[in-house]
Symmetry: D3
Subunit: 68 residues, 6 copies
């Protein structure tokens, strides 16, 4: 199955910090740039996300802003 979200940045999980209901996942996406995601701890557990994993950071296009 494929998702309508336009943005899939491939990278490697640098760190996962869970804190109660929420978790912070940092993904290195190349060229020294990283993406931080706040997701539920439930999803971290369900997907078994750990440092070193190859993952995609997924973002719907309507959520992206441009700074110039």
């Amino acid at each position: 199955m494929a998702l309508s979200a336009r943005n899939n940045l491939h990278g490697t999980v640098q760190s996962v910090e869970t804190d109660g209901l929420m978790a912070e996942v940092v993904v290195e996406v190349g060229d020294g740039q990283s993406v931080t995601a706040i997701i539920t701890s439930g999803s971290v557990e369900r997907l078994g996300i750990e440092a070193g994993d190859e993952v995609d950071a997924v973002v719907k296009a309507t959520e992206v802003m441009i700074e110039k």
Copy 2:
């Protein structure tokens, strides 16, 4: 001034397509990866966004999902 949003991906605008109220901006962020933003045409005009511009694609961390 600095913004609380955790994600600022630096890149180069590849294309801008405006269509009535909305516009689609594609930013090449390095390593062959790109980010697509849907913003208002009003903002494209106000910031003068054009192909070739150096910009940041900005995303709040709560908007990012992880796919594994």
Copy 3:
């Protein structure tokens, strides 16, 4: 691959209306309830979304509000 988004409502596409950059997709999710999605026309094309398709409406948990 699995996505961290907590909400996947399975249903059948009732209608797809594309209009320039954006498209409106209505999904019947059972019990007479439906979900409306605004996505890019580019994603409608890429996924080949048409009335009658079985799809999931996907929503990140941080985007859901409760009305009581």
Copy 4:
């Protein structure tokens, strides 16, 4: 008063878990499908949300993705 958000899924609260600032509310919306919402604990208190309540899960159409 009526809200512009296009999606109002009616259902019954299955569980509410509060954890500091944030809370996770799971709503059974029929046909064995459920919706998970992350809202503030302040809103859980203000609305008095409890398991068994009849509520609507409300989502803006621009926040919905389609997976096919």
Copy 5:
């Protein structure tokens, strides 16, 4: 019924511009500040939103950023 969204800014509609599926609504919220909303044209019609209307601009707290 009450909504979990924490932000309800009361104001007066200054302008409504519809363009195909989407519409832009500008609300003057006092002290010379205004809020711009992109909603569906379907919602503009359903609620009958017109310049001069007293409305609330509603935003979930997780969607707000801080710039300092």
Copy 6:
């Protein structure tokens, strides 16, 4: 640099509550109206946000709903 987000409500921070990964910031934006933001504690620290600070509450137009 300027951001494409259409909504910048100027105001004064009334309170900041941090709780593990997340923080709640309340901004008084004039006329007795306030805006509540849920951001990461990491951003509260990085920007040094404290009660009394003059800040902007920033919201992308696609995140705003209208209630009438």
